[in-house]
Homo-oligomer: 377 residues x 2
């Protein structure tokens, strides 16, 4: 069926663009000689992740235990839960391990080693652990200089209920870079911190088989990943306006969009009112600090082609306001009430989070499939 028969708002995923985006990163990974560990947090869907796993070693990263359980039930066993561990998460993790999943957790403190080791020992398991590293001051992790790295490493190596399997870092600050050159430099730092920490562990007699880095911007601009065993990234599958603003992709690569209906006009103000408010688009304003502020999203026609200078300039819960960046006069006759438009999102993960499913197209307006999303925790 034609996507114009959908109710609005609805989430649209263009499989053709998705596969192009994935193919592009696979080629980069092959060239750099690194395995891709796709991050399941953007897609929250097995079909998307299966495309991303083609030709890779089969492991993924997740941001919630609900994702971990979902992907495991779909046949994926090697899963990194890439959020610092809290005691309240341990029951579900040991439960997954007992069912045959190889769940690896991350941590950056002695306290965490202690409660994880205790739980592992009580459960008769050795819980695999990566030490989280801080390469750019983004949020969590141990820095290269901090003696804590070796303290954690030694404690992990001496406790029964855990097993040290390596280090992991995420150059999250890459989302705020001001140029491609800055992203290249950060990609170098991300690699260097991970490799040097792995060497430090090994020099001190500690094992470090896994050296994991990753963010979509650094994945696209990294020039050398020697010493890195795997790269994690998620949003590259879909891309979005933040990534386009960074120069990581073209706007025409963006694979997800929100279908909306025009529901009114305020002609004196130059406003087209739609039924896609923040509930449909999210409140993400990631392009606000970029060179071109895209408001709450760029406006396209139903075929997904951008309509010059139109952005979503404001949102309420179930209302969007579309304006031309430059002029108040619009060709109103072509924006009749009921016409459907598509909005490219600032941040694919945040917009996707507002929906329970993707309406899948394949380069045209024809809906070829419906894929569910696993939201929540």
């Amino acid at each position: 069926v034609d996507l114009l028969s959908l109710e609005t708002p609805s989430l649209i995923l263009d499989r053709k663009k998705l596969i192009n985006n994935i193919t592009h990163i696979h080629k980069r990974m092959n060239k750099l000689g690194v395995n891709l560990r796709p991050h399941g947090k953007s897609a929250k869907n097995i079909n998307v992740i299966n495309f991303a796993l083609e030709g890779q070693s089969g492991g993924i990263a997740v941001s919630t235990l609900k994702e971990a359980e979902y992907y495991f039930n779909k046949g994926i066993t090697d899963i990194v839960y890439a959020v610092g561990i809290a005691p309240v998460k341990l029951n579900r993790i040991t439960c997954l391990i007992r069912k045959g999943a190889q769940i690896t957790i991350i941590l950056d403190s002695i306290e965490q080693v202690k409660f994880v080791a205790k739980k592992g020992k009580e459960s008769g398991l050795k819980i695999p652990v990566l030490i989280e590293l801080d390469c750019d001051g983004h949020r969590s992790g141990v820095t290269l200089e901090d003696p804590l790295l070796l303290d954690i490493g030694h404690l992990l190596n001496s406790e029964e209920g855990v097993i040290l399997v390596g280090v992991l870092t995420h150059a999250g600050e890459s989302y705020h870079c001001k140029s491609v050159e800055e992203i290249r430099t950060l990609a170098k730092t991300e690699r260097n911190v991970a490799v040097k920490c792995s060497e430090k562990l090994r020099q001190n007699g500690l094992p470090c088989p896994i050296v994991s880095v990753g963010s979509t911007p650094t994945a696209i601009f990294a020039e050398n990943l020697t010493g890195i065993t795997e790269l994690r990234a998620g949003v590259f599958m879909f891309y979005d306006l933040v990534m386009a603003g960074l120069g990581v992709c073209k706007k025409t690569d963006i694979a997800v969009s929100v279908l909306t209906s025009i529901i009114g006009h305020q002609k004196r103000k130059g406003w087209v009112i739609t039924d896609a408010g923040w509930m449909a688009l999210s409140r993400d304003r990631g392009t606000a600090s970029q060179k071109v502020d895209q408001g709450y999203g760029m406006v396209c026609n139903a075929e997904g082609l951008a309509i010059n200078n139109l952005i979503v300039s404001g949102v309420n819960q179930e209302h969007g306001i579309i304006e031309d960046r430059i002029q108040k006069e619009l060709p109103w006759e072509s924006f009749e009430i009921g016409r459907m438009l598509r909005i490219l999102p600032n941040h694919a993960c945040a917009t996707g989070a507002m929906y329970d499913r993707y309406n899948v197209i394949d380069g045209s307006r024809e809906i070829v499939d419906v894929w569910n999303r696993v939201n929540g925790w």
Copy 2:
């Protein structure tokens, strides 16, 4: 069970505060002599709406047709779908009407009258219609001065498939007022525009039984609602930091919060890392333009009492960063990893939207019930 046994992040609703908030507005409505039409868009749950309906005439407003269907299945028949109508929504609306619902729609253009009347006629129904008014330039609606008001009124009155039942306006700009005095003035304007438009319709021989106004801030500060037949409001049930910043409620009235676990520290920076990022709190930054910017939320202990000067200063998808507004040094020993905190939201509707259920407490930490939410469209 104690809420500390929940997994994190989770959404907590304090029924005691909820009922206090609802009682307060019921008293105001009684005093003003106006019926409350609770808006179902904040709660998205029948138990909450049933409390809000006590002593009222039984009608509600909704922001999605999924809410309309849900509340109708729970026994509510009088429902205003308070988003300008689009053609793609008409099938579900006529379907609900045939099942016995009294669904009233809103519109502000001749085009909409035409397609709604056509659908009504084809279906052998008279679809009830409110004309949407613009009282404050917020988004949609016809202004008092615009001749369109009478044009729409006359057309509605002459077409077979529709029935004109009145006017509706929403002073959405009240969320951006800078003082209580401004809110009072806007409440007066909201009433005046609605009453004058109703008089204009009646003077021209058109029916206008319903004169509907509403927003939480104007509901709390309106002094005279003579000529108004009903008031719509939703967020007053829960309140949030935006409402507290406006002076509409106290912070201790806020009935919803997000339970989160501490998962790390960056002591040199003064950061406590939690597992409540934007996926758990939403990206809403409604307090950013207020006198006191609450970041992504105010931090409370597990009992819901604010911890001085602590706010969520940053969020990623599944990570929150908590900082003290003033100092970098924290009593780290009392913020141990695994400790649970509660975060008061900027915007209750946006934070609620990230969850499929409420964990209900009743003034203590004891979970007394679980209430589901009807998200999506």
